[in-house]
Symmetry: C2
Subunit: 366 residues, 2 copies
């Protein structure tokens, strides 16, 4: 095999597929990136058996072939090469020669036969949205999964199409995060639970461009994301996802409209008094025109009041501050609305358009 | 005690004294920052019993007093306060009220009586240099100490005044780093070995200004650095430092002049083939007009050649690459000169002005 690339193109592709290379595995082949130039296209693949990423690199195939190279070593080498043309040349014993300027490396390769290729997914049930939208929808919900939960469904996010609306849901037993996107066009209804780790890696590769699309291709147990020169394959989590619609109510007794940045900073200031294993709540006292925030822990106490617009009843209610700071950090709006029923019922943060909704269970403060 | 400050002034002072606060200690009082407003000046002090830093903060003493506050909590609180005036108010039970805007904290304080003050050092044997010079001299030598060595002297740096020249020396058994500064004025000869940890912290606080002085005040077993509003106190390491002058020779058989950046990047590229516990050298083959660099490890091999100006004999010599990249990273010059005698004798990197010198022992490559 003999290939030629620009160093920057190659590095960009390596950085993408590296996200699917497992460092913890005991199988040496899974620590590799596969270079596949068995046709005139050069493809790089990483695969940790749950998540698999392939991307094509611009370059010239001088001689067809395939080789698997240790991902860490290969990416460090390319990262440190000067910005120039890189030539990669693999001999019959899989010794791979990497040449750039006057620097010449020789590293051992592994047999591409041993490398697991991603599954083949039929291109039906395809959903296409902008890369930016998907990236935001993931980042605005993913913190609400429970990555360490025994219940596998809680370690993933629900991707759902219903009535031509695309919805992503994450929950962990104390809260629900939900993002909605109206779709232009007709789509069949669909439900799939996508592993959180996959979504975390995908959101890092997706671009911030609103006019660049990503298409998602669902099979019964697999999902493929396709965008730019890249395909990401992931297995889906099996099982029936939680029915959340009956947990979401639009009733409220108290509505609070508050400046998001001030509210976030105030809760963040309160949070620093909480030490690990010390689950003290932050207590809100809502009255006309102001909300008072109080926290009292073994480290000390803190009190602050903020201006609000209030509608409905006064209320005193307590929360785990983390469950508030996480959504506040990712909501784009300048002001947000909180909806509460009583000190024991879930609180909702949502906008009028219904594009986002966060349900947060309060903490007992009596 | 009742004090008022600007939040940014207070935070700046906390960040300085925090460098002397021990997080690993079992003595709670050493995890504190002392606020001392027993006169009309407000002083903050951190002390880990080896290193002690005090700095004065602009502010108003509304009521004199002293209190010791948990450093981590106090600095996190001040870091998260809005940029406004901060009022600190300690009551008889040492409960300390920190108020800024509408945010009010109450945290427990500790008795200032328990806090260890830094020693008093008589202002004799004072050396004054620019902050930038001292910072550079430390950063250009400190990597050569051996912080984990049983021989305490190797964990510090020699500060020496001789013939009105200030010299800093660091060594670890395989190499020596030396920086010199000619002093304007008459100084008594002096030798002191300063702990590496102190120097690492001091270099972080020193400014990058050439016209801001730092004065160093030496006693028999203590050193005080004084600059801006800050005093840093450190104990000295006892013992007779290594006699390095007879190890430094100006003889050579081969002189190599080379572009520093190219040389550094090339060795850095070779280094990535070295895995932990794999002490393979980088081998230089010096000939007329070029140096060839080779490395061969269990990960693979690498070869590169660079243009040089050579004077004297051809030579083949091996080094631990780290001992070259560390000085190359901190030398300011565009080209550097290497001086070698044979493949078993020390190599020197030095400039004609004699302001820096690095001695590096080669590795046996036969």
């Amino acid at each position: 095999m003999k290939l030629s690339f620009n160093r920057n193109d190659l590095l960009k592709a390596i950085n993408i597929v590296n996200k699917a290379v497992s460092s913890g595995t005991t199988m040496p082949i899974l620590k590799c990136i596969l270079l596949d130039a068995s046709s005139d296209e050069i493809i790089l693949i990483g695969n940790d058996m749950e998540l698999s990423i392939e991307t094509s690199v611009p370059g010239t195939v001088l001689e067809r072939g395939r080789v698997a190279l240790d991902a860490r070593l290969f990416s460090e080498i390319v990262r440190k090469l000067p910005d120039s043309d890189v030539e990669i040349n693999t001999d019959d014993r899989l010794i791979t020669n990497i040449k750039c300027g006057k620097a010449v490396y020789n590293i051992p390769g592994q047999d591409a036969e041993d490398f697991p290729y991603p599954p083949i997914i039929e291109e039906e049930n395809v959903l296409s949205v902008s890369q930016l939208s998907l990236k935001e929808m993931i980042n605005q919900t993913l913190f609400s999964i429970n990555a360490n939960e025994n219940n596998k469904l809680m370690t993933g996010e629900l991707f759902e199409i219903r009535n031509n609306t695309f919805r992503i849901v994450a929950l962990d037993g104390h809260r629900i995060a939900l993002r909605k996107l109206e779709l232009a066009g007709e789509y069949a209804d669909l439900k799939a639970v996508v592993p959180g780790k996959t979504l975390s890696e995908v959101s890092k590769i997706l671009s911030d461009e609103l006019d660049q699309p990503v298409s998602m291709c669902f099979s019964s147990n697999q999902l493929m994301f396709e965008f730019d020169e890249t395909k990401v394959f992931t297995r889906l989590i099996e099982g029936e996802y939680f029915h959340i619609d009956n947990m979401i109510s639009s009733d409220y007794q108290t509505k609070v409209v508050i400046n998001k940045k001030e509210f976030y900073e105030c809760i963040d200031r309160a949070s620093l008094l909480i030490r690990e294993g010390d689950n003290k709540p932050i207590v809100f006292t809502v009255e006309d025109g102001q909300i008072e925030l109080d926290i009292n822990t073994t480290s000390g106490s803190m009190n602050e009041s903020l201006e609000i617009e209030k509608e409905g009843m006064d209320i005193k209610i307590g929360f785990n501050p983390k469950f508030l700071t996480e959504p506040l950090r990712v909501i784009d709006d300048e002001t947000i609305s909180l909806y509460m029923i009583n000190s024991k019922a879930p609180c909702f943060i949502k906008n009028d358009e219904g594009t986002y909704l966060y349900l947060i269970l309060p903490v007992n403060i009596l």
